[in-house]
């Protein structure tokens, strides 16, 4: 090798430069233990538990330039430049963030992109490398192929090469955790360390977000778990979590998401292998997965009209998503729907509990974005797209969104993304994580409405007067809790306090509903949606379980609405008119806003986007709380 004559000097300078960089950053501020916790949760903390950055194999391939640091800065309220060049700033910062990059091939596409082309022997990798450098179209093509091949268990060997990947993963994982630590400020902003586990046999979505309660010192002792391609059982993830907790004394939980594209596999009645689910298996599932992400950009998983024909609001976020699994490799058939939706899973949990004594699906609810842009945007007027290939533009709403397949899903079917509301006693990793463990959480489809939900037998006549929240905590249980029908002092039906306050800068509320699911003596599962309090009750009267619609103030031309209908707050104390003390049941709250414009209308307004016939223009955004479970015996 021939070197220019001056090389030794410049080399020396370069090394000196590097040597000066080895001092670690100074960490200051408060630790979790120094944060003063409230006696009970006084305020809801807003966050996104599911954000991807350029470290995610697909996000990078889609073009995302924003890494974890940009993502954290954005979530805290700083201005960043989005991949497409737009300046982006969240008008209201979030309280916490989980960056959940895919563990599978963590950083692999970036490595492929950055690799000297010379070393790419695999013809597929070489072609991908070239395509990605061609620009957005090429990237989109590569990503589609990547996801498709992953679903078919057919990725090039070099991408799934375990040793190379391990090295790459370790480097990215520990660098990432350092960045997260720099932005974690107990009391102000909580940055969690986490990742996404991306199990996807034949394209059936069994993904989970994995969240650690702990800091870098503990999480650096493990690598994010990658199930690889194919059929690795989910219990392997739980083994990984157990091993982590045992070795470090730390804590970790998993949050399944997009059950809607799992083709019935997310909430099965059977155990692994197809036999009846055992008590031991059910116990493990419930212990490791206390929460489910019920709503996000890739559709809403609360309920489906096929399963809940009497629920007139169950069609929210279903169009496009309910026709096939994630990659559209397999169509969804009606028999699969029951395993795809949260409400049905909560009911199935009661059935499995009746048989085994353990409820595997006793989970709380959150919403999140699953944004692949590094931007945790959840609102209709700031939707930055599922990934950087569909950041705001005239074309995105009507463009086909096919991941590796030609069947039809279209841009407009994306939701703008949801958020997680957490009733924690303070803003720190431990306080928020512990609230998640006790399921004191709710999902919203973006708006930040404040929703309280308590159950109990001993609420007084002043249950909604004065300092009622404190009293409700003392006399009952909050969302995520259990009511024991055999406890001392229990008489008659329990009461439920529900209070919903609109997003202070958002739309008024249409109604509050309580969704009840139960199992009868014959083992049959039932559900019913009760309208419990609504706006304009003087003019809107119940007929059976139906109310007249709230109305509609959306102006299509200006993508706006007026709060001249609906109510800023809806609150009541409710008793189940059909309460049967012998029946196991769950109750959760659904809050509906008045109709508001969807993100597609903002695209029309800003970019003159042309919409396809059938594009949904407005929706009633909503919140879902974690259930409260009633048990006849403790």
């Amino acid at each position: 090798m021939k070197l220019p004559r001056k090389m030794p000097l410049t080399l020396g300078i370069a090394l000196l430069g590097l040597a000066a960089c080895n001092r670690t950053g100074v960490v200051d501020g408060k630790t979790d233990t120094e944060i003063k916790l409230a006696a009970y949760p006084e305020r809801v903390y807003w966050g996104d538990t599911h954000l991807h950055t350029s470290n995610s194999v697909d996000a990078f391939a889609f073009g995302a330039k924003l890494g974890p640091e940009d993502a954290l800065r954005f979530a805290r309220g700083e201005e960043v430049t989005a991949t497409g060049g737009l300046k982006a700033k969240l008008d209201r910062p979030l309280d916490f963030l989980v960056i959940a990059d895919h563990s599978g091939g963590l950083g692999a596409t970036q490595a492929l992109y950055d690799a000297p082309r010379l070393f790419l022997r695999d013809p597929t990798l070489r072609r991908w490398h070239d395509s990605m450098h061609e620009g957005p179209q090429g990237r989109l093509k590569v990503t589609a192929e990547l996801i498709d091949l992953a679903g078919r268990n057919a990725l090039p060997a070099a991408l799934s090469d375990p040793e190379g990947q391990k090295k790459r993963t370790a480097k990215i994982w520990t660098t990432h955790s350092s960045i997260v630590e720099r932005y974690n400020e107990p009391g102000k902003f909580t940055a969690f360390i986490g990742f996404e586990y991306t199990l996807m046999p034949r394209g059936d979505n069994l993904h989970r977000v994995v969240v650690f309660r702990d800091g870098k010192a503990r999480t650096d002792t493990v690598l994010p778990y990658d199930p690889g391609q194919g059929d690795a059982p989910v219990s392997k993830l739980w083994d990984y979590m157990d091993a982590y907790q045992k070795a470090t004394g730390g804590q970790v939980l998993a949050i399944p998401h997009n059950s809607n594209v799992s083709n019935g596999l997310m909430f099965e009645m059977v155990g692994p292998g197809g036999g009846p689910m055992t008590a031991a298996y059910a116990r493990r599932r419930a212990a490791h997965e206390p929460l489910v992400e019920a709503t996000q950009i890739k559709g809403d998983s609360e309920a489906h009209p096929f399963l809940s024909p009497n629920d007139e609001f169950a069609d929210f976020g279903k169009a496009g998503w309910d026709i096939g699994n994630l990659t559209m490799q397999r169509a969804t058939t009606p028999d699969m729907q029951a395993g795809n939706y949260v409400r049905e899973a909560l009911k199935r949990g009661l059935a499995i509990e009746a048989r085994t004594g353990v409820n595997p699906y006793k989970f709380g609810l959150i919403g999140s974005t699953d944004s692949h842009t590094g931007l945790a945007t959840g609102d209709e007027n700031n939707f930055f797209g599922k990934h950087s290939g569909v950041e705001p533009s005239a074309a995105r709403a009507s463009a086909p969104q096919n991941l590796g397949n030609t069947a039809g899903r279209f841009g407009w079917q994306y939701l703008a993304g949801g958020y997680a509301g957490v009733w924690a006693r303070g803003n720190s990793r431990s306080a928020i994580f512990d609230a998640m463990l006790r399921k004191e959480t709710y999902a919203t489809t973006g708006p930040r409405m404040t929703v309280r939900f308590f159950g109990g037998w001993n609420f007084g006549a002043d249950a909604l007067q004065g300092d009622w929240v404190k009293a409700a905590y003392a006399a009952g249980v909050p969302m995520g809790g259990d009511l024991n029908g055999s406890a001392a002092g229990v008489k008659g039906a329990p009461k439920f306090i529900v209070s919903a306050l609109k997003d202070p800068i958002g739309a008024n509320l249409d109604r509050v509903q309580i969704v009840k699911g139960w199992i009868d003596a014959g083992g049959k599962l039932h559900e019913r949606v009760f309208n419990v309090v609504w706006s304009s009750p003087e003019t809107r009267k119940l007929t059976g379980d139906r109310l007249p619609p709230v109305g509609d103030t959306v102006d299509i031309a200006t993508a706006s609405y007026k709060n001249t209908i609906g109510a800023p707050q809806l609150a009541t104390v409710w008793t189940d008119p059909e309460f049967d003390p012998a029946q196991k049941a769950f109750y959760y709250v659904r809050v509906l806003e008045i109709p508001t414009p969807r993100w597609v209308l903002f695209d029309v307004l800003r970019y003159k986007a042309k919409l396809l016939p059938g594009t949904r223009l407005k929706d009633q955004e909503r919140a879902y709380t974690s259930p409260i479970w009633y048990h006849p015996q403790g």
């Binding site: 090389m7 370069a14 700083e78 209201r92 202070p504 609150a571």
Partner: protein, 271 residues
């Protein structure tokens, strides 16, 4: 200034990093790849590199014949590359251009991200951006929510000023009637943007308003207002360092580009 200090200072110049890193890359990957140079040397290091890549791909050692094949291919790459450059084929190739640009940007970014600021640099940053790190104003106040319009709120205000019980006049809304020592951001978060600022401007000690929140009209009694205070570095170091780092990264990227740009004369003819 000693020679070492000079050298250290010199090494902080973005352009120097840029050139040094570029030279380093050239040294490792260039392998004497000057297009004008008609000799090709494949070094031991390069052969080892080729062999390792091969092993990663195939999970076994290449046979000697396969090693020779790799070397032949490496030479072919080099010959074609040099001839292509000689013919100017790199000039109009969009992939090539984008790739070269991203390599250059990568070099700058990698250098800038490693920088650790001194205390003095952080203090200077804080001094220049004090307002970004000041604490929020802290407010204590009482409020009642009055359903209906401003007109109705004004008539309720008159009753309050005649000594009526605020609790009896309040409409139901789950926001605290009494707020003690809350930072402005926290108040806006609960009541909607701009609410804290509107209250801070009110005359203290008596019921006044109405003030509009995201929910409707409120009557407010401001009890205490503590203006925001500038914070010492020790209290905000983490945030300052993060911001300094980000600004420094952007600044150095821009400076590195500017340094290169300065070497060019640019003429633009707009149609």
């Amino acid at each position: 200034m000693t020679l070492v200090e000079r050298l250290k200072r010199f090494t902080r110049e973005p352009l120097v990093h840029f050139l040094a890193a570029g030279a380093l890359i050239f040294a490792v990957w260039g392998g004497g790849g000057d297009a004008a140079d008609r000799s090709i040397t494949v070094s031991e290091v390069q052969v080892r590199g080729l062999t390792e890549q091969w092993e990663q791909q195939w999970h076994r050692q290449p046979t000697p014949a396969e090693v020779d094949g790799l070397i032949r291919d490496r030479i072919k790459d080099e010959v074609y590359y040099r001839e292509a450059v000689r013919l100017g084929l790199d000039k109009d190739d969009i992939i090539m251009r984008r790739r070269m640009r991203s390599k250059m940007e990568f070099l700058v970014a990698a250098q800038a991200e490693n920088e650790i600021p001194s205390d003095a640099a952080l203090q200077a940053w804080l001094d220049a951006h004090r307002r970004n790190y000041a604490t929020d104003p802290i407010l204590s106040f009482d409020q009642i929510y009055v359903a209906g319009d401003r007109h109705r709120a004004q008539s309720v205000l008159a009753q309050l000023n005649r000594g009526a019980d605020p609790a009896a006049l309040a409409s139901l809304l789950s926001v605290p009637p009494t707020v003690d020592d809350a930072p402005a951001a926290e108040i806006d978060r609960q009541f909607g943007d701009g609410f804290a600022k509107a209250i801070a401007a009110l005359p203290p000690g008596r019921w006044t308003g109405p003030v509009a929140s995201g929910f409707g009209q409120h009557l407010v009694r401001l009890r205490k207002l503590t203006p925001g205070a500038v914070q010492p570095l020790s209290a905000v170091r983490k945030a300052v360092e993060n911001d300094w780092r980000e600004a420094n990264r952007i600044g150095r990227e821009n400076a590195a580009y500017q340094a290169l740009l300065d070497g060019y004369t640019i003429r633009i003819a707009k149609p």
